[in-house]
């Protein structure tokens, strides 16, 4: 694999001049004034990996969600700017005091693509269906962990009951994972739905065809008229069709866009970004909400059991240098354990400022003495820990190698261990790690509970009943932002204070567009929302 990567890097270097001239040529065709949006056309959109499944309720990778999002509507939508929950299939909703029951009042007139109505009974069937999918619905399973069942109050009103406070459910109701499928869809097996068979939603696009590892085509839903209150226009989508082309090789993806064989491309790599500055192309950028890329410490292992050591690592990472060196200015240095696009994020940039002297002072005071090779030791123990990662994001290795150099300066030896994704899951579940390197996308602070709570993932291996647990539980027990904010703040503050995890940078979605493509937008979870997209 490393050979293959090296070959690609060599190829990239050699082919860069060719590409740049190709761009310059394309750039001369100046983008005319786009004018008002118009209907029609097929958007050829290059994506980097093949969706493993197309069923919105079963998908869990960004590639799959970017396709599935267009097929289903959700009960609610989330404002990407404010994080507020807004009407979509539900006009309004209310929840009880401890967030264990949610009642949704559905709008009238919405139908699934097989003609059946989107009513309370259909919503109940759909949610029960997700629960029945069990672990096959990876994301929905988590959101509905405490789901007891739902009841049809009247044809337009449905109530969902939970066995434990589930404030996060309101945001979850806006995600693609809890998108509503028609009752008829559940007559097919989960495997059939994955392949597109029986994917009957009420969304602005309908599934047309799937060519494995090649392309997925969606067509406009005729007569669609129940878009989210956040959509820029109402009625049908502008595009006749969306043709997702699966192009795994980043150089080919950008080259195809530059040479007009694609209208837009996702997952533009940091090295390829400069090609799309100006010259008729444009970029659409959004950082992912949720947990940022971080070194998540196992507080029970080796030197990381020492809080001073963890705090020194937190100070010894120069986030700005990571962003400037291995990423691009489109990426943001972490300002909290949560990304800046997450609702209820706190600004902890002061605590996360690079402070090499402070880190060294902490270690000096703790009795760690620099050895002959520059790495500190204490009672014969080396100041060393390993980080486990998988190459899901291309720049992971480069980022970690730079962090390794930075930590060397404070006398900390970071070992980098690359594994396959399957192995990292295994290692994470076994608890056999010093640091884990990962990020998680979710537009709700409750994501912290699933990674840090001793009742959930507990990646830091904390002991039950700690103050962080209390803060995490408190934020999950109310949907009232004013009440939720202090506990969410407290949780973020505790994580940084005790350096349970060392946040580094925010994963960012970069989509490049030709001069023809417009409004290829992101929803609150930084996945593509193509309802308003159009071609000139």
């Amino acid at each position: 694999m490393s050979l293959l990567l090296r070959a690609r890097n060599a190829a990239a270097l050699l082919t860069l001049p060719v590409l740049l001239t190709a761009c310059a040529a394309a750039g001369t065709e100046q983008a005319a004034d786009a004018g008002p949006p118009k209907a029609g056309g097929v958007l050829r959109l290059g994506i980097s990996s093949a969706p493993d499944c197309l069923d919105p309720q079963q998908v869990a990778t960004n590639a799959s969600i970017n396709v599935a999002r267009q097929l289903v509507d959700s009960l609610t939508d989330q404002d990407p700017k404010t994080g507020e929950i807004k009407p979509w299939l539900a006009e309004k909703w209310e929840s009880n005091a401890d967030s264990t029951a949610f009642t949704f009042h559905l709008r009238s007139g919405a139908t699934f693509s097989d003609g059946s109505p989107v009513d309370a009974a259909a919503v109940k069937t759909s949610f029960d269906g997700i629960k029945a999918l069990s672990t096959k619905a990876q994301l929905g399973y988590g959101y509905l962990a405490a789901y007891k069942g739902s009841s049809v109050v009247d044809p337009q009103t449905v109530r969902l009951d939970f066995s434990a406070p589930s404030a996060q459910f309101l945001q979850a109701s806006s995600t693609v994972s809890l998108g509503v499928l028609a009752p008829a869809a559940f007559k097919k097996t989960p495997e059939q739905r994955c392949q597109g068979n029986g994917l009957i939603g009420s969304g602005p696009f309908v599934f047309e065809s799937l060519k494995q590892n090649q392309e997925i085509v969606l067509a406009k839903r005729k007569g669609y008229g129940w878009g989210s209150s956040l959509f820029k226009h109402q009625g049908e989508a502008y595009l006749d069709k969306i043709d997702y082309k699966i192009v795994p090789e980043p150089g080919v993806r950008t080259g195809s866009l530059a040479s007009g064989q694609l209208d837009a491309a996702t997952d533009i790599q940091p090295v390829d970004e400069p090609q799309f500055k100006g010259n008729g192309f444009s970029e659409n950028i959004r950082p992912n909400p949720g947990v940022v890329f971080n070194l998540h410490a196992n507080t029970t292992r080796g030197v990381l059991a020492d809080e001073k050591v963890r705090q020194a690592v937190l100070k010894g990472v120069d986030r700005t240098e990571v962003v400037n060196t291995v990423l691009t200015p489109n990426y943001k240095a972490a300002t909290s354990i949560l990304g800046s696009a997450t609702p209820l994020v706190s600004d902890l940039s002061q605590q996360l400022a690079y402070d090499q002297k402070g880190a060294a002072a902490l270690l000096d005071g703790d009795g760690w003495v620099p050895g002959a090779d520059g790495i500190r030791t204490k009672n014969g123990q080396r100041l060393s820990a390993a980080v486990v990662f998988s190459p899901v994001f291309n720049q992971n290795r480069s980022a970690l190698e730079l962090i390794q150099q930075q930590l060397r300066k404070i006398g900390f030896d970071l070992k980098i261990e690359q594994h396959t994704t399957a192995e990292t899951t295994q290692i994470q579940l076994s608890g056999n790690y010093d640091f884990l390197w990962y990020n998680v996308t979710r537009a709700d602070p409750d994501i912290l509970r699933s990674q840090f709570s001793t009742k959930a993932g507990n990646r830091s291996k904390l002991t039950p009943g700690n103050p962080l647990d209390a803060a995490l539980d408190a934020q999950s027990s109310t949907v009232d932002t004013a009440k939720r904010k202090p506990s969410a703040d407290e949780a973020q503050k505790l994580i940084i204070e005790h350096a349970y995890a060392v946040p580094v940078f925010e994963l960012t979605q970069v989509v490049a567009l030709s001069s023809k493509a417009h409004a290829v937008d992101f929803e609150a979870s930084s996945r593509l929302q193509l309802f308003d997209a159009w071609l000139s």
Binding site: T21, E249, T441
Partner: protein, 317 residues
Amino acid sequence: MRRYLLRRVGQAVFVLWAAFTLSFLILYLLPGDAVSAKLAGGEAGASMTPEQVAAARAEYGLDSSLPVQYLNRLVAALHGDFGRSVATGDDATHMVVTALPPTLAVTGLALVFAVLFGGGTALLGTFTRFRWLRQALLSLPSLAISLPPFWVGLLLIQFFSFRLRLLPALGTQGFAALLLPAITLALPTGAIIGQVLAKSLATQQEEPYAEIAAAKGASRWRVHFGHLLRNAAVPTLTVAGVVAGNLVAGSVITETVFSRDGVGRITASAVTAQDVPVVQAVIVLAALVFVVLNLVVDLLYPLLDPRIARTPEVARG
């Protein structure tokens, strides 16, 4: 001849069983499994507790003991059923069978190009009287084999697709989409064929029969393309049988670079995801192709050299 055939079929069955068993063992020995790979949806926000993972594993039959899993899979495989892909939920056999035609199209064309390129350089290189041309032609294979296919593919795309806009960079639509990947695959394969053929031709040129044929008045052309080529073809054919099998392995790279569906792409993603049903379907199929190709090669030998067919029969009585 019947005994010869029976023995060959017996060998083929053994190869298929060994391929199945080895792939199972290797994938089992790797840490993690298909469920872990599938649940590693970190980017998307899924996070499962160990209990949930155990439940999912049970659902895919990954919780039973190694011999039980092996026997279940083997019995099913004998019926042509390799199970469902854990990653996509699709039937593994169906996935591989639908991925086969695009791969066969590219590898078939690549084999044609490889024979033309390898055979052409070797024949011309050994035939020509110009020393410089001989050296230039005979060094082409070493050059071609040292170029990484990944890089060649990207260069071809840059030039023919992005700059000249003559050929598509993506997809499997039409004959035009076959050309660039076939050329990419043909270069290293053709190089091997070319080197072996050139070497054999050079050896045959030294043989007394070549001089005798020339002395009897055969033209240089007839000696080279008639007598020498016929004898040099035997080792070349052996090598061609092996490299034709390698073409399928090479498709992992070309199918990724050229965004094509095919056996290579399926294999690469299935191995990463430790998707045992798919990997086994691919491996058994690849072994089958290999075995059949070699059987064809073996059956072609007697046509080129009748002594080959007779020798084993005589030796055994």
